[in-house]
């Protein structure tokens, strides 16, 4: 019988690498493009943050005028949230989720490419306001009626359209993730054998699917108000500006969990790997993730406690209740390290940094969940500190943990650990020097989003310290960039599984082939690669047990 050998034909027809990247539908290339694109926006929004912090370093207006300042913090917030933290984690999910579930690609590769390419387009539109008389300047929350009748320029319209595109990208991506996770898991991978990162991405995608269309509706309504004489939010013609806040935060609070859940997923991959133990309480962790997702839809009005129009006890209670599943996760993480064998790679440092910093964001969140306390803290720098401890101390720490953890999978080379540690410590110190003083400023009564403050207000010292911290963070990025460049030039090649990972992505080559797997190990638990690595241990243990049993009987 004649045997036909099938050789994979990928790469057999040649095109330039630029065209290859521009037209690719491979989830790994799209994932990398997501990540690179997000980091570019991160650096841009970081520079805007430096502008804001420089202006606030001392009283008086030195570098920016009011209008430029307002544009700077609006663009900083919008870009960081919509074009950095959400898409960068979506990028890691894009790269890792199909690998972790043993799939050859995402369910809809072309939609995957579309949802990526909408991002630079949307981001470009949002920023293009600078070319047309000024970008949007109403804060990333765009409260009406300031963002409708009182901001006539095209910057706000571009902001609306850009966000609509970015939102569409998220919705398409979330459908893709849900379809992929439901339909393309490897044989043997039941739901309760999925890696935690996949679980968090699944819950995140569900949140995106339920929340982002609400934002899209709000954006369209606001666009109609601004351009076609609509009256959704216009008090003069019977509309209600508070409606916008309800719509925005019904999206906006799940958005916080859209950002933090995948970062929690990353941490839940990194901690077990470098503690050489399974995640403590896997099922509890899954239920806690689902609980956070469900609760996130019942807490939106805690952003509106001072509006005087929301039922405080309900939203206050539900908000504080989120601390319970979050607390469960925190304890599970610590228990994962307990009696482990912890190696301090840079990825692990960032994961532990996540625990230590996110905790502070969680505690300040529970403080502000108590409505009377929030009457004092709402819209002050305390809220700014809180949200940065969640977004930066939480999500961004997770992003860097993911970067150091999965870089060898993506490129076959490991980032330099020494530079990585310099990066980590500089960033951790800079982060706390920047954002911890903001708690104090907020408690003293400094409102957020002010371009200037009086020298007699007593806020100068802490603001100055905070600005020093911001520049420390900026400096900490330099060893990171240097590290990436140096690793590409002359990085250490570390093979397919440098960390002794647990999940399927470590069962293929680094970088994986276009179709991901030549063969899949059997999936008998949530740690198939661990099982594979230690199959002999188990056989040996079973053998020893059998011998002992035989000896007992004899």
């Amino acid at each position: 019988m004649a045997t036909t050998t099938l050789t994979p034909q990928v790469g057999s027809y040649r095109r330039s690498w630029i065209l290859e990247w521009l037209t690719t539908v491979d989830h790994k290339k799209i994932g990398i493009m997501y990540i690179v694109n997000s980091f570019l926006f991160f650096f841009l929004a970081g520079i805007l943050a430096l502008a804001v912090r420089s202006e606030l370093a001392v009283p008086g207006l030195q570098f920016l005028d009011d209008a430029t300042y307002n544009q700077a913090f609006t663009m900083h917030g919008t870009i960081m949230i919509f074009l950095f933290v959400v898409p960068v984690l979506a990028g890691f999910a894009n790269y890792i989720v199909p690998l972790q579930i043993g799939a050859p690609d995402m369910a809809f590769p072309r939609i995957n490419a579309l949802s990526f390419w909408l991002l630079p387009l949307g981001g470009g539109l949002i920023l293009s306001g600078y070319l047309f008389g000024g970008a949007a300047a109403e804060g990333w929350t765009g409260y009406t009626p300031l963002s409708s009748a009182y901001s006539p320029g095209p910057g706000t319209d571009l902001w609306l359209i850009g966000l609509l595109l970015v939102g569409t990208a998220s919705i398409l991506g979330s459908i893709n993730f849900i379809a992929t996770i439901f339909k393309m898991r490897a044989p043997g991978m039941t739901f309760f054998r999925m890696p935690i990162f996949v679980w968090t991405v699944l819950v995140t995608a569900t949140l995106i699917l339920l929340a982002t269309p609400v934002l899209a509706a709000g954006l369209i309504a606001l666009f109609i108000d601004r351009n076609y004489g609509g009256s959704f939010f216009e008090p003069a013609t019977g509309g209600n500006p508070i409606l916008w806040q309800h719509i925005f935060w019904f999206f906006g609070h799940p958005e916080v969990y859209i950002v933090i859940l995948p970062a929690m997923g990353v941490v839940s991959e990194v901690l077990p790997t470098f503690s050489r133990k399974p995640l403590f309480g896997y099922r509890a962790f899954v239920f806690a993730t689902i609980a956070i997702g469900l609760l996130s839809f019942s807490v939106w009005a805690h952003h509106m406690f001072t509006t005087g129009v929301v039922f405080l006890p309900f939203f206050s209670f539900m908000t504080a209740l989120i601390a319970v599943p979050t607390g469960v996760k925190m304890f599970n993480w610590i228990a994962t390290m307990y009696r482990g064998s912890i190696s301090f790679t840079t990825a692990m440092l960032f994961a532990v940094g996540f625990l230590a910093m996110f905790l502070i964001g969680g505690i300040s969140g529970v403080m502000m969940a108590e409505a009377p306390v929030d009457f004092h803290l709402q819209d002050t720098y305390f809220a700014v500190a809180h949200l940065h401890y969640v977004f930066f101390g939480g999500a961004v720490m997770g992003v860097f943990a993911a970067t150091y953890y999965w870089f060898p999978k993506m490129f076959g080379r490991r980032l330099n650990e020494k530079l990585g540690k310099v990066h980590f410590w500089l960033m951790l110190i800079g982060f706390n020097v920047t954002f911890f003083p903001m708690h104090i400023l907020g408690i003293q009564g400094m409102p957020r989003r002010i371009a200037d403050y009086s020298p007699t207000a007593g806020w100068t010292v802490w603001n100055f310290i905070s600005t020093i911290g911001a520049f420390t963070i900026a400096i900490s990025i330099l060893p990171f960039l240097l590290n990436v460049v140096a690793t590409f030039i002359n990085g250490e090649r570390v093979g397919d599984d440098p960390w002794e990972g647990n999940t399927l992505e470590w069962a293929t080559s680094s970088p994986p082939p276009p179709y991901n797997f030549d063969r899949l190990p059997p999936v008998r638990s949530e740690r198939p690669v661990f099982d594979l690595r230690h199959r002999h241990d188990r056989e040996r243990l079973l053998g020893e047990a059998a011998m002992a049993a035989v000896e007992e009987h004899s």
Binding site: N70, F280, M337, M367, Q378
Partner: protein, 355 residues
């Protein structure tokens, strides 16, 4: 040897004392300003409870993280016990945060009811927030606004709200443009000033001030380019002093002048009528304070501000509606100045010469 022992003891004392001092100082920085209203005191009490609980959780969990990280660092290549979970302890650490949350909720609900308790206000003020200043309208209950005291702030002269201590105060918060927020850090409270559609009731804020003093406040909801300049202050005084203050404020006098006016001061008259000044030039002596006796015959707001040749405001008067005010203008160097009504600068202006 004794010296060495003493030095060691000192060193260990320092080792414990210094972090402790830093912690206490940091903890102090994390406490809100002294509360000056009864409601603020309630909030301060709740904050203290929440903060202490937060601090306990913070130290306990951070300690657990640091301990686990140091204690279980990798020492050899042995694979640790593959511990997958423990149902009992997981139920326990779900229950503990639940109890904490429930306790906090109960305390915070009690506080909420305390600070929301309504009483008959002794003073009711309509607060009008606009881009980008405040106007305080003292309602006297006779439904005739022409004899009410209204003060409108400017960037150079933020408005002052005089209030009595020990009596309930009610603010009616109105906005005609965007959302603002009335925030006094020393009262530990803010409430949004929202342009509700017609037919909806405006927000109100009620409080009772305990101690006399001046308390700074400002807009806390981002409202556009002038947001950071929407300042005001509250001047709390004993009820009798408040009555005197209000009477003199109503009479258009500068409240409670601290210095006696110079005997032979120059007084110049200026009148506003039909959105115009009666004079286009004013002459005053250079280097001497003087008084502008300003009469506003219109039923809309006017004021007088003086600018030097570079366009810098050297004096900004209080805004008045249909009334009289004596502006105490500080000494000006010789030169030509522009005076104008900041509300109608295109039509109400003139030249002021100091020589």
């Amino acid at each position: 040897m004794q010296h060495l022992a003493a030095r060691l003891r000192l060193r260990s004392v320092i080792r414990i004392a210094i972090p402790l001092v830093i912690l206490v100082a940091l903890g102090g920085c994390l406490m809100p300003p002294t509360p000056e209203t009864t409601q603020g005191k309630d909030i301060f009490g709740l904050y203290t409870v929440v903060f202490i609980m937060g601090a306990i959780v913070f130290f306990a969990v951070e300690a657990a993280i640091v301990w686990a990280v140091i204690r279980y660092r990798r020492r050899d290549d042995r694979l640790p016990d593959q511990l997958h979970g423990n149902t009992f302890i997981e139920i326990l650490w779900t229950a503990i945060p639940t109890v904490i949350v429930l306790v906090l909720f109960a305390i915070s609900l009690t506080t909420l009811n305390q600070i929301d308790a309504k009483s008959t206000p002794a003073v009711t003020i309509e607060v009008d927030a606009f881009q980008w200043q405040w106007s305080f309208h003292y309602l006297d209950g006779d439904s005739n606004p022409s004899n009410d005291y209204i003060v409108t702030g400017t960037d150079a002269a933020p408005p002052v709200m005089g209030l009595p201590t020990g009596e309930p105060v009610k603010l009616i918060l109105k906005s005609e443009d965007v959302i603002h927020s009335f925030f006094v850090p020393h009262f530990l409270i803010k409430r949004d000033v929202i342009p509700f559609p017609p037919g909806e009731q405006p927000n109100t804020l009620e409080f009772t001030i305990v101690n006399a003093g001046t308390y700074a406040g400002q807009c806390a909801e981002f409202c556009g380019t002038g947001h950071s300049r929407m300042l005001f202050s509250i001047q709390a005084m004993a009820p009798a002093a408040y009555q005197t203050w209000l009477a003199s404020a109503k009479a258009g006098m500068t409240p409670a002048p601290s210095a006696t006016p110079a005997p032979n001061e120059t007084v110049v008259d200026l009148t506003a009528h039909n959105i115009a000044f009666d004079k286009s030039t004013l002459e005053v002596p250079a280097g001497q304070p003087f008084v502008i006796h300003f009469v506003n015959n219109d039923t809309i707001q006017h004021e007088v501000a003086i600018y030097d040749s570079s366009g810098k405001a050297v004096f900004t008067g209080r805004t008045i509606t249909e009334g009289t005010v004596d502006y105490q203008v500080p000494a000006l160097p010789a030169g030509t100045y522009r005076f104008q009504c900041d509300i109608h600068p295109q039509v109400m202006f003139g030249t002021l010469t100091a020589k």
